[in-house]
Symmetry: C2
Subunit: 216 residues, 2 copies
DNA sequence: GTCAATGATCGTGTATACAAGAATAGCATT
DNA sequence: AATGCTATTCTTGTATACACGATCATTGAC
C-alpha cells in the first residue's frame, strides 16, 4: 500500500477499471467506494479526480463519475498512436542500443519463444509485455518510455483479447524475431516499420478486435 | 469559469505553471492558493491531485506540491515524441483530407504567411499554433488530436522561445508550405517526414533551446 | 389514462475541524 | 563553537458536516 490513501485508491480503482471489474458506463458511487475500501469520501474523491484527469473516467458535475467506454473506433485510434510511439522507441533502440538493453531484449525474447512454442497464450501475454517494455527502455528516452507504458496499460485488456485470435501467437513471435534482428542490426527505419506493423491494427484484425470486444 | 471549482482551479493553476508564473521547483502552498483564489483547501487539493496525475507537478507525501522542472533533456524528449505524433497526424491528414479540413488548413496557412511577412513574431506564434491544430483535426483521429493538443500545451512555452531564434520565422513558414503541398497532394509519407523535421529539434537547434531556456 | 409539476430523497460539491508527520529553531551538551 | 536532540509550529492528510443540485416518484389536473 502506498503511503497516501488517495494514491493507493487511484491505483486500486484504476486496476479495477482496466481489469474490467468496473465496466464501461458503470457509475462509481463515492460513498459505496468509501465504505468498500474502509476510508472516508475525501480520498475517494481525490482518486476519482485523478482518474478523470488521466481520462479513465468522466466526472459530470453533480451527477457523479462513470467509467469511460472508449468504443471500438477509439480503441483503434489508440492502437494507431501506440504503433507510432513503439515505432519511435524501436528506431531509437536501434540507434542507441547498449549492452544492458540488448541483454534485456534477448532475455525477454527468449521467454516469448518458449511460451509461444508451448502455445501458452497467458504466459505469452505476460512475456510479450515484458518484451515490449524492454524495447521502450532501450530507446533511452524517459518521456517516451512513460508515454508508451501509460498507453500500454490502457490498451492491456485489448491486447489480451487480440492474442486469442487464431494463429496470432506464432505470427506475433515471428514478427518479434524480425524486430529484434532490425534493432540489433542498428536498422532504425526497419525497426520502426516492423513495430508499426506489429502493434497497429490493419484490415481484418480490426474486425477481430471489434468481435472480441463485443464478446466480452 | 467552469461549473465546478476544482476543475476551474486546475485550469487556472495549470495556466499559471505553463506561463511560468509558478516557476519549476516552486512550492505550491495549499492554504496560500486557497486564500488567493478565495476558496477552501478542498478544491485546491483536488486541483493539485489532478495536476499531479497529469504530471505537471509532484506531490510528495506530507511535504507538499512542487512544480516539476522538465529540464532541457526531457523537453528535447518531449519534442521528439511531439514530432512523431504530428508526423502521424500529417500522414493521416494527407489520406483523409476532406473539404472542411482543407479549408481550415488553407486559412490558417494564409494567416501564417501574413504574420511571417510582417515579421510579427507574436502573431506568427499564435497563427502557427492554429495551423498545427488544423492539421491535428484533419487527421480525423480524436484520440491522436487530444494527445497532440495536450503535448502542444505543455510544450507551448518552449515553442515560443524557439521562434525568437534568428530567421526561424521565415524558415518555419517555408516548411509549412512544403507540408501543405504534401498533405494536399495526398502524399502521407512525405507529410509525415516533413512534419517530423519541422517539429523535431535537430543539431544546433537543441543548443538554441537550451540557451533560451537558461535565459528565462 | 397520460402528462406535468412539485416535493422528497439521494448524491455530489465545498467547507471546516482535527490528527499526524515533517521542518525548523532553540537549547543543551560535548 | 559545533552538533545533536527535543519541542513547537506549520502544513498536509483524512474525516465529517452541511448545502445545493439533480433525479425520481407521486399526486393532481386535463
Amino acid at each position: 500500500m502506498s503511503e497516501n490513501v488517495g494514491r493507493w485508491l487511484r491505483d486500486e480503482i484504476e486496476n479495477s477499471i482496466l481489469s474490467n471489474e468496473f465496466s464501461p458506463g458503470e457509475r462509481l458511487d463515492e460513498t459505496v467506494l468509501a465504505t468498500r475500501f474502509g476510508v472516508s469520501r475525501t480520498p475517494v474523491r481525490e482518486a476519482l479526480m485523478q482518474l478523470d484527469a488521466i481520462g479513465l473516467i468522466e466526472i459530470r458535475p453533480r451527477r457523479g463519475a462513470i467509467v469511460i467506454d472508449p468504443g471500438p473506433h477509439r480503441v483503434y485510434e489508440m492502437f494507431e498512436v501506440m504503433a507510432e510511439l513503439e515505432g519511435l522507441a524501436g528506431s531509437l533502440a536501434a540507434r542507441r542500443l547498449d549492452k544492458a538493453s540488448r541483454e534485456a531484449i534477448t532475455a525477454t525474447h527468449a521467454r516469448c519463444e518458449q511460451s509461444a512454442a508451448a502455445g501458452d497464450s497467458d504466459a505469452y501475454y505476460y512475456d510479450n509485455e515484458e518484451f515490449h517494455k524492454a524495447i521502450y527502455a532501450a530507446g533511452r528516452s524517459d518521456f517516451l518510455e512513460e508515454q508508451c507504458l501509460q498507453l500500454h496499460r490502457r490498451l492491456r485488456p485489448y491486447r489480451r483479447l487480440q492474442l486469442r485470435v487464431r494463429n496470432r501467437l506464432s505470427t506475433s513471435f515471428l514478427e518479434h524475431c524480425a524486430i529484434v534482428d532490425a534493432i540489433f542490426a542498428g536498422n532504425g527505419d526497419e525497426a520502426r516499420r516492423l513495430l508499426r506493423g506489429h502493434v497497429g491494427i490493419q484490415g481484418e484484425r480490426f474486425s477481430d478486435l471489434v468481435a472480441s470486444m463485443a464478446a466480452r
